[in-house]
């Protein structure tokens, strides 16, 4: 018995001892948190429920949670906007979690903060709302978020147009207006519920953005009313999350390289030979050739000597071979530093960030840098509300030597290989040295922005949500454009020395105030019927105030104080100003109903008014209706392993828009100019107006299908048809009316397209993970009707109508070229009747054929992600096809321009004498009228396919293991190192440098960086 007791006692002690040891067990649990789309979710608080052990997922959604826990426990995953997930620990130390977006109606107890009060989930069920994968955007080393968006969502077309620091053109699903340009076709940008300008968007720090949604169809956009006629880009900023403070430092350091060379130019030997053939006495190749001396000094006794001397000069020139591409286009620096703090408790969370980015452009004098700061604070108010505050500020500066009349990039194609940057006068620019070509113009622009916004979400009654947002955005843009007195144009302007050199300095402030109040009631009845009704009222006010001064006689100084104010006449100092205050008001209603999560219907109406329009045309409206059918939510398909998602949706909407129309277009309007007549100011009439102007009306139909297979393969298909009736256009009118154009409602434009995207998780193991995705978008437009005509010529000189019924607006027309006539050396074209049209004949309308689309109809992206253990590899390609761009061809030289460098092989491709067959370029000796047909229109030989595929982003990342960090760098929670690059190469059949923008000068510079990211 005693023995037994002892055994029992011993066992008890043992068991107790064991159980005591168990209760203090240390755990290290890791995994990835993803959303239902399979994208990693950063910033999720992972904690042991009921205890203080917690961590936050990193940028890739990964986490490592360490805890000393007693007995059984659960792990909680929480994040604003996502449904909280609770996982019971079952002994497996790797826990991957999928979190779903919190789409359910919030009851009074759980209040969630909604940053953008217009971002109602109900609209996404029947409308097309697509999310940009922010982790890929952040990975791309580029200073501008706009450029980074290229390829992120099918149908969002981003076209880079110029040098670093110039805003790219952004369109959603092409142009729905006949009018070209951004004011009529640009999407609406909304950040955290606040309408922002494209300039503010352009200056945003990508690291501050949690997500970007692209709203494409009427059902998704209609909440924003008439402003959203061209789609919406919704931006949500990073917020904090409950948990201990985490500090993340992210750094990119790298270089920018020169980019695509495009055209190969001649070397010195070839160029000098071309000059000899072109016989321009202002070129050394002819001036020092034997030909020249024999022609001009045939009887000179010193002839042989002259020839020998000439040969020497040529030999010395041949020895020089300057690569002006390398000389002018430079490699530069790229750096980015981002520091962010996040943290908070269940009542208050905060996010604080600071950023510095710098990128050097391709040519000296072109660079951009930006610093920005942001503080976001979310405060829970009791148990029935949430308040959110944001404060942000930024400063950016762009320098550029590229003016409207002057682009040093073009010198790459003009300076001769036998010329040198450091010595002597240039043959290509007589009387000027290389230094006289640089520093001709400089432009500095600075943007200082500050913004503050506050929003509240209140839930007094279950299901009733009252939210309001108010924000103020302020930006001060300053620019200074200088042409120094030393510039060639000033030196030769003929004005006195003390009047040379001029500058324009302008300051432009813009203040925007946004406010929006929204009341939404949403409730679920009998667990199956979900009803949402709501309404909103919004008001936007914007104030623009601009002052500018232009003054002359500044010499080399870049300061307005240097202006010579004694100058009279047309170089007199000038002051300009502009001030405009405008407001927009809107009232909206919405209705949504969901049955059993299977059927959705959604309708919305919004009426908007703008103070810029005359009173009788002020109010315009937009309405939309949509329906969704989620077949996979039927009971018989629930938990089906093959078909995991099947959703069909359709929407219809009508938007009336007067975007880009000002009062002056509809009513007689006058403005003071800077000038005077006698002692009077000039009150100038702004132009002929059309009092019958109506808003253009866009009707859009959208059908979408989403399929999910095996929980790892997603397919999305969207078809849309947009019709713009009463389309507005500045139509040419007889000039006896005193004006060339009048804005009129002129016709009907169709804009149709298909978008498809897919993504497959090819491999999905814990340490091996591969996703392949891709998208393609097709957009096509056609003029359906032009009310009083079949065709419109935008200019009296166009032979081909710019708008024609049954034709696309983007089509480029020109004659079919038959090349160069071997007898005359002049271009020959194919006539409509099949005969040859010689250079001296005039081409007619019928002789023109469609050469291709100016805007490529197809665009898309390919994405690849591969993760193996601690390595991540990502690559994004962007491609477009189906379009053409006209070649510049200014690098083909004739006799008059022989002093500038020419394209390689011009000698063999150019017609020089009778019988030269199969040549590309016409004779260099011609009268200008003989090549009118060539210069006035593009033709089949002067356009090239602008198809290209670009490696827009590549990144290889290594995550330092937690064991390593634990051992060596205990204070660091996570650390990554990566190689990241953007725009590494472009493959294209296009012969010049830039198939994207079509300009000879510009192409995007590749950026290669090393990235380091550390979280403390």
């Amino acid at each position: 018995m005693k023995k037994l007791f002892l055994i029992v006692a011993l066992l008890t002690v043992l068991v107790n001892g064991v159980s005591y040891a168990q209760s203090l067990k240390e755990y290290e649990i890791s995994g990835i948190v993803m959303d239902s789309d399979g994208d990693p979710v950063p910033g999720v608080t992972v904690s042991v429920k009921g205890m203080q052990y917690a961590t936050i997922t990193d940028g890739d959604g990964k986490y490592v949670l360490k805890a000393k826990v007693e007995g059984r426990f659960s792990i909680e995953y929480t994040c604003i906007g996502l449904k909280t997930v609770l996982v019971k620990y079952d002994g497996n130390n790797v826990i991957d979690v999928v979190m779903e977006y919190d789409n359910t109606v919030l009851d009074a107890v759980v209040v969630s903060a909604r940053q953008n009060i217009n971002e109602l989930d109900i609209r996404a069920k029947s409308g097309v709302v697509q999310q940009v994968n922010m982790s890929r955007i952040v990975t791309k080393p580029t200073i501008d978020i706009s450029s980074a968006l290229q390829g992120s969502v099918p149908g969002l077309i981003v076209t880079n147009t110029g040098a670093l620091g110039s805003k790219p053109e952004i369109r959603i699903r092409g142009n729905s207006s006949l009018r070209k340009g951004s004011s009529a076709n640009e999407p609406l940008y909304v950040m955290d519920g606040q309408v922002i300008s494209s300039d503010v968007f352009f200056e945003l720090n990508p690291n501050d953005i949690a997500d970007i949604k692209v709203l494409k169809d009427a059902a998704a956009c209609a909440l924003y009313g008439v402003k959203a006629a061209n789609g919406v880009i919704e931006i949500t900023s990073q917020r904090g999350n409950a948990g201990p403070m985490s500090v993340t430092y992210n750094m990119d350091m790298g270089v920018t390289t020169r980019g695509r060379r495009g055209i190969a130019m001649m070397n010195s030997t070839e160029k000098l030979e071309l000059e000899r053939l072109l016989q321009n006495t202002a070129t050394p190749g002819y001036r020092y050739s034997e030909d020249f001396f024999r022609k001009y000094y045939p009887t000179d006794p010193d002839l042989e000597n002259m020839i020998a001397e000439g040969r020497e000069v040529l030999d010395s020139l041949r020895a020089i071979n300057t690569d002006w591409f390398k000389e002018l286009i430079r490699m530069s620096m790229y750096q980015k530093h981002n520091l962010s703090l996040k943290g908070g408790n269940d009542k208050t969370v905060y996010y604080l960030s600071a950023n510095f980015t710098q990128q050097g452009g391709r040519i000296p004098g072109n660079d951009k840098y930006r610093t920005s700061m942001r503080l976001n604070l979310d405060q829970k108010i009791s148990d029935w509300g949430y308040a959110m505050f944001s404060v942000s500020g930024g400063y950016s500066k762009t320098n550029s030597p590229i003016g409207t009349e002057y682009d040093p990039t073009m010198l790459v194609y003009e300076l001769n290989p036998y010329e040198r940057p450091d010595v002597g006068e240039l043959w290509s620019y007589p009387n000027r040295t290389y230094q006289d070509l640089l520093n001709q113009y400089s432009s500095e622009s600075e943007d200082k922005t500050a913004g503050a916004s506050a929003s509240i979400n209140l839930n007094f009654v279950p299901g009733l949500d009252i939210s309001a947002v108010a924000g103020l955005d302020f930006s001060l843009s300053e620019s200074l454009n200088v042409v120094p007195s030393t510039a060639y144009s000033e030196q030769n302007s003929g004005v006195p020395e003390n009047q040379r050199g001029y500058l324009t300095k302008s300051k432009n402030t813009s203040t925007n105030i946004t406010s929006n109040i929204r009341i939404t009631y949403s409730n679920t009845f009998n667990e199956k019927h979900n009803l949402t009704v709501g309404g909103n009222y919004d008001y936007y006010m914007s104030l623009m105030d601009n002052v500018s001064i232009t003054g002359y006689g500044i010499g080399k100084l870049k300061n307005p104080s240097a202006i010579n104010q004694s100058i009279e006449g047309n170089r007199k100092p000038r002051v300009g100003s502009f001030r405009e205050k405008s407001a927009q008001m809107g009232i909206g209603l919405l209705f949504g109903y969901t049955y059993n999560e299977i059927y959705d219907i959604f309708g919305t109406y919004k009426a908007d008014a703008s103070s810029l329009l005359p009173q009788d045309k002020r109010w315009n409206s937009a309405w939309a209706a949509g329906a969704g059918w989620t077949i996979s939510n039927y009971a018989f398909l629930k938990n089906n392993r093959v078909l995991t998602n099947l959703n069909l949706k359709a929407s219809y909407g009508v938007t009336a828009s007067l975007a880009g129309v000002s009062a002056a277009s509809t009513i007689g309007t006058f403005m003071y100019s800077q000038n005077s007549y006698e002692d009077q100011r000039l009150l100038e009439f702004l132009g002929i107006y059309n009092s019958d102007l109506k808003p253009e009306k866009t009707t859009s139909i959208d059908v979408g299908l989403s399929v999910g297979l095996f929980k790892r393969w997603d397919l999305n298909l969207n078809l849309y048809k947009r019709r713009t009736t009463d389309a507005l256009l500045d139509v040419p009118i007889p000039s006896s009316n005193g004006y060339g154009y009048l804005k009129r409602n002129i016709g009907i434009l169709d804009n149709n397209g298909i978008e498809f995207s897919t993504s497959v998780r090819v491999i999905d193991k814990h340490e091996l993970y591969m996703i392949i995705g891709g998208s393609i978008a097709y957009n096509n437009n056609m003029v359906v009707d032009l009310y009083d005509a079949d065709r419109i010529y935008a200019s009296e000189n166009s032979v081909i109508p710019d708008y024609e019924v049954g034709k696309s607006v983007d089509m480029l027309y020109g004659p079919h070229s038959l090349g160069i006539n071997p007898v005359t050396g002049l271009p020959v074209f194919l006539g409509s009747d099949g005969r040859e049209i010689q250079a001296t004949e005039t081409l007619l309308r019928e002789d023109m054929v469609a050469l291709g689309y100016m805007v490529p109809p197809f665009s898309g992206a390919l994405n690849f992600s591969f993760t193996y253990k601690s390595f991540d590899f990502n690559a994004d390609f962007y491609y477009v096809f189906g379009g053409v761009k006209q070649y510049d061809q200014s690098y083909v030289r004739d006799q008059n321009s022989a002093n500038k460098n020419a394209i390689k092989n011009q000698i063999s491709d150019m017609w020089f004498k009778k019988g030269d067959e199969g040549k590309t370029y016409h004779t260099p000796f011609y009268s200008s009228a003989a090549i009118d047909n060539l210069t006035l229109y593009p033709n089949t030989l002067t356009v090239g396919s602008s198809d290209y595929i670009k490696l827009s982003m590549i990144s290889l990342r290594y995550r330092l293991s937690s064991a390593f960090l634990e051992k060596n760098l205990r204070f660091i929670k996570y650390a990554n190192v990566a190689f990241q690059a953007s725009n590494l190469f472009t493959l294209s059949r296009y012969k010049e440098s830039n198939p994207e923008g079509g300009t000879l000068a510009g192409s995007q510079q590749p950026v290669l960086t090393i990235n380091l990211s550390v979280t403390f």
Binding site: A583, E678, N737, E796
Partner: protein
Amino acid sequence: MKKSLKYITISLFSVYVSSCTLNIPLENEFSDPYAISNVETARELLASVYDLVPNYDFELSVLSDDFMPTSLIDRDAELKNLYQWADNAITNFSTSLWEEYYNVIANANVLLERLDDMTVSDDKEKDEYERIRAEALTIKASCYFDLLRLFAPSFSEGDQKDGIILKDKLDLEFLPRSSIADCVTEIRTLLSEASSFKKAPSAPGWHSSLSADYLLAELELYAGNWTAAAEAAKRVVDAYGKETMEKASYQKLWSSETCPERIFGKYLRDSYYTYIQYDAAAGDFFMLNDDLVFEEGDIRSEWTVFPFEMADNRGDVAERKLLGKYNKMNKESLQIKYIGKIRASGAYLILAEAYARSSGEQAAVQILEEYLSARGIQEKISLSGDALVKRILEEKRKEFAGEGSNYFEMKRNRPETLKRYSAYGTGSSVSIKKDDYRWTFPIPKSEYKYNDNVSQNDGWTKEVDNQN
């Protein structure tokens, strides 16, 4: 707590809604109906109409026989083409003229339409109102008149031929051309109405009844109504008198000072007449025609001829008679404030011609002698008939050399041939015949391409869209 918050929210909301307004007047722009509501704003709009009137005096002089090209002409192909009367150059030039003149007319119509709706309270305002209206009518008439002389055949070729488009309102219209006779009638009506407001202007940049009379005299001369021309010109001559044309006054014409001879001068704020110069050091593209010879003592000489050393193609330097006037002012950095084309001397010469042609030869000789003596030439004129008219026209050519108006005179009194020279000293290349189609400018494409009702002038093409 909850309840009070609700009330606060609701009341804040209503304050917020009611505080938002859309009636924000534009601070920079002024729209109808309040924009042009008083005489002050009407005057400012009128100032902008004046400012729009195009100045192509140099280009018109190039087309006339005022100039001969220097060796520098090869440096500017466009200018050379214009001088040679190349179709293309005339087409381009005529397009600018047509568009700019009709732009002025449209703006004048905008003002006249606003004036119709304006009410004035006191006499002072009424006075200013009438004055503005008269000035607007004068500008409109002068634009019509220039257009008519440029784009229609001469009056003598048939007054039922197509003239120009008469535009009465701003609205979009697709109008045909009215006959020359109708155009003359319309211009006469406008000028007669303008001339009835008799009060003197406050500055030379504003039109007056006398500048309207001057234009009326020119119009009647154009239409061959010698008596009417004489009547109108007489009104001007009587108002100005001989002494306004004497040396002291004449010199002031080429300065920014007030000049008694100036009837109306377009106020300038931009550079003017700079295109004649190639380079300050190298010289001008054109020089005065060799046959413009000024006698000893002729005060016009000093301001018309600007001797300048210029190199020819071979590099030999010689003195060239460049144009003085505004060109001289530019070269000497003098500020040009007014273009004084409408001046007393013009009225004298119109009156002389009108008398000479209507058998008032004695009176014509007297007027001409008065003019000449004021200009420093004491000469007894013993001419009559065509010879007298020819002499008057020759004096007019000298008076207005380089000021553009000689082109109109040549078009009215066609020379048998108009010689076009190559670079100075190398002879004549082509000559333009009396009946050349280019004497009448082509209706520009920007008109006929969009206006099916408009006709083209003989000899010029009207490319039509062959699928229409």
